[in-house]
Amino acid sequence: MSDIDDQGRIRLVRALRARPSRAQSVVGLLLAALGFAVVTQVHSAQSTGLGELRQADLVRVLDGVSARSARLQSELKSLEQTRARLGSGSGQQQAALAESRARVRTLGILAGTLPATGPGIQLQISGLSSPVRSTVLLDALEELRDAGAEVIQIGPVRVVASTWLRDGDGGIVVDGTLVAPPYVVLAIGDPQTLATALGIPGGVLDVLTQQGAHAVLAQRSELTISALHPLSAPQYARPAPTSAGAP
């Protein structure tokens, strides 16, 4: 075995020392071409670009790129839809919020929890020879409501749906508060209509005059009712569940 190996080495050394011949030149030429090709290929492989790829690979790359582009496009579309949905959602929310704020204001004025301002009348009842009965004041109240008074205040008390009147010592009890004469009734509404309603023949003003009271009615283009009705939560009543279609 070692014999053969030694022969191999000897042959190699001998080949390296061989004299130049035509056959050797051809082999050298081929090897030169090989070295050249190897270096060229290594060089081009290191600088891989699309230009080096064959057609099938290019088609694959193009496919991948277009698939990725389509995926990104669909993602962009869904994101834009989400953005539009969120935007319109917040718009609707703001509209709902504004609407409920308006409702809160309206209901607050109706329920007497918010101060109100607007045109109206001021009725002052004074100079009594005999005490004004609460029924007369109640008549005046009903007359004002019929005439479309939106907010009414008697003395320092805001008149709401549950307001009650009672004769008291030295005055009239309104919602538990003793109001002493002179009574001042403020009402917001159309001043002309309110004044007419109170001043009709046989109406509130006439009755008051007959009873010896001195009633002064004044129309105001701007008056403010600042008395508030304390809000108490209903003890028994609850909002009934509304069906989906109900407003």
């Binding site: 053969i4 191999g8 190699l12 130049p20 082999v27 030429l29 081929l30 070295g35 270096v39 064959r54």
Partner: protein, 110 residues
Amino acid sequence: MIAALGLVVGIVLGLLLEPTVPVWMAPYLPIAVVAALDAVFGGLRALLDGIFDDKVFVVSFVANVLVAALIVLIGDQLGVGAQLSTAVVVVLGIRIFANAAAIRRHLFKA
């Protein structure tokens, strides 16, 4: 001696000129290079075995390169160029390993 010299000269030339591979040659050059390497290793083994022949080497070298290029060409025409290139590289790689093993046994006695 001239052969080794030729190899060195070719490498140096390639480094100096930094040529770019022509487009039509791009698919064939790597396979051709591997085929040529196979021929070179085969020739070296034959040299160590004492049966080296210049003519055989030249013919095998050229034939290897041409056949490898032809296989890739046919593969490209059939639409399986990439796979066939891989097959050629695998087969030639196995042959190169076998020849390298024989050369190793000769030179290092192992």
